[in-house]
């Protein structure tokens, strides 16, 4: 009996005791929209060398400087730091939160490029809908100079190439994201009849965040039907991304010197290793401006 009445007192007392708690619990039950798009699958619009699923927000402009430095093989040169370098100056602009356009010019290789990318689907924080983000990229390039000499160079129409990519990425944990990118590359001309003007490739890219501002990234592109007239290898990159406020710094080791997708995916003539001629050090700096 004693225990029963004690229990009753406890039961009566409990609601008074928990009133403070229940106010927060009541707020907890309020129907607020907590479902949102997953933020920051990757840090920039490029994972390392290739496009990431990320687009830029509306009215933001990014000014980018991309560069590669390498040594020429079998040459004991007097060059300062590296024998050769190559750069691309680019602009990326967010027309809307889903649509980003960009253009760039490469020196000294003389490649002009432009692209647009559109977010078809986004991964949600509560895992509703599809479990990954999908972005479509369409890029086009114009080569003003010969690079590895696989395209005809008779008139303007011979020097073009286009790349279509479907980027499918998932942020698995807060630190780890992975992307698979089925890619179609079309080149308007080939010198050798052995070379198919159309290439199918698939890219794999991963990011692992080591701190809130630094991540390690890697990418590899597999080409299903590579060029026949020259030996090519899959483009590979291993690097680190460092976000310093408005500035994204990307450092990488890679096996290619070209910044545009059709170039590095299908025309990487070096395998990845650290010997002179094969080893390319890359540095990208991207400055973010809110307009």
């Amino acid at each position: 009996m004693k225990i029963k009445s004690l229990r009753l007192i406890l039961l009566l007392g409990l609601p008074f005791y928990t009133t403070g708690q229940s106010l927060l619990d009541k707020l907890e039950k309020e129907p607020i929209d907590t479902v949102a798009n997953v933020l920051g699958t990757f840090q920039g619009t490029r994972i390392s060398i290739g496009h990431s699923v990320e687009t830029r927000k509306k009215n933001t402009l990014e000014v980018s400087f991309m560069s590669r430095y390498w040594n020429v093989e079998q040459e004991s040169s007097n060059s300062f730091i590296a024998d050769r370098m190559c750069a691309r100056f680019g602009l990326d602009y967010g027309i809307s939160d889903k649509l980003t356009v960009g253009a760039g010019v490469g020196v000294p290789n003389g490649i002009f490029d432009g692209y647009f990318k559109y977010r078809l689907a986004q991964q949600k924080t509560d895992n509703s809908g599809i479990p990954f983000g999908i972005t479509l990229v369409q890029a086009g390039t114009y080569r003003t100079r010969r690079i590895i000499g696989i395209e005809r160079r008779d008139d303007f129409g011979d020097k073009l190439a286009s790349t279509t990519q479907l980027l499918i990425a998932r942020k698995f944990t807060r630190n780890f994201s992975f992307q698979i990118s089925p890619t179609f590359v079309h080149r308007t001309s080939s010198i050798s009849s052995l070379d198919d003007p159309n290439h199918f490739a698939v890219g794999f890219g991963g990011r692992y965040k080591v701190s809130n501002h630094v991540s390690i990234v890697s990418e590899y592109y597999y080409v299903a039907n590579p060029l026949e007239s020259v030996e090519t290898f899959g483009a590979f990159s291993l690097g680190t991304n460092w976000q310093v406020k408005n500035l994204l710094l990307q450092f990488k080791m890679t096996n290619n010197q070209i910044f545009t997708e059709d170039g590095f995916i299908t025309q990487t003539t070096r395998n990845f290793n650290t010997r002179d001629g094969n080893f390319f050090f890359g540095f990208h700096a991207t400055y973010h401006i809110q307009l």
Partner: protein
């Protein structure tokens, strides 16, 4: 039998007492970080708060993703690197208004309670102005929060850009809670 009746009576009483609560669903919370290098400001207009004038209790829930910045990159960094809203989506406050008189038209009181941000709870005191209209209350005030208290890490390189002390202002308009 007697006991069930008592319990029933008690539940009735409890639900009756709930009718005295007031709610705000679009409360405004703004924070400022002033430094000589850069001023950062963000506003949240979806803050939830509930007030019980009878028990003088107040509770607030702030959704961290809902802070709107002038610069989209700041929103991304705020959520991803500083507040880590994927791990800690909400900040909460619960407390009591000291010497609160539910019928005064205008009063300035101290609210004492616990503020929880990034799962770290600290006791805080907020000086607030409380005004009462026909069947609604308005509570306004401001407080300072030290980022060190809530283990918000700022890289040394960026420490000139982000103030150690963040000023938070709020403005809540409460209407009767309809359950």
């Amino acid at each position: 039998m007697n006991k069930t009746l008592l319990l029933f009576l008690f539940i009735c009483m409890k639900s009756f007492s709930q009718n005295t609560e007031y709610i705000e669903r679009q409360g405004e919370v703004t924070f400022f970080s002033y430094t000589s290098v850069e001023n950062i400001q963000a506003k949240n207009s979806q803050t939830l708060s509930i007030l019980n004038p009878k028990t003088r209790q107040i509770a607030v829930q702030i959704l961290m993703r809902a802070f709107v910045f002038q610069k989209s990159l700041m929103h991304e960094h705020f959520n991803a690197s500083y507040i880590e809203s994927d791990l800690y989506p909400k900040a909460t406050f619960e407390g009591e208004i000291e010497n609160f008189n539910a019928n005064d038209a205008l009063q300035t009181k101290l609210i004492k309670g616990t503020f929880t941000l990034r799962n770290i709870s600290k006791p805080i005191e907020i000086k607030a102005t409380i005004s009462k209209a026909d069947n609604s209350y308005t509570i306004k005030g401001s407080l300072d929060v030290l980022i060190n208290d809530y283990n918000i890490k700022v890289p040394a390189l960026l420490s000139p850009n982000i103030s150690k002390k963040i000023e938070i202002t709020f403005n809540f308009n409460y209407a009767p809670y309809e359950n």
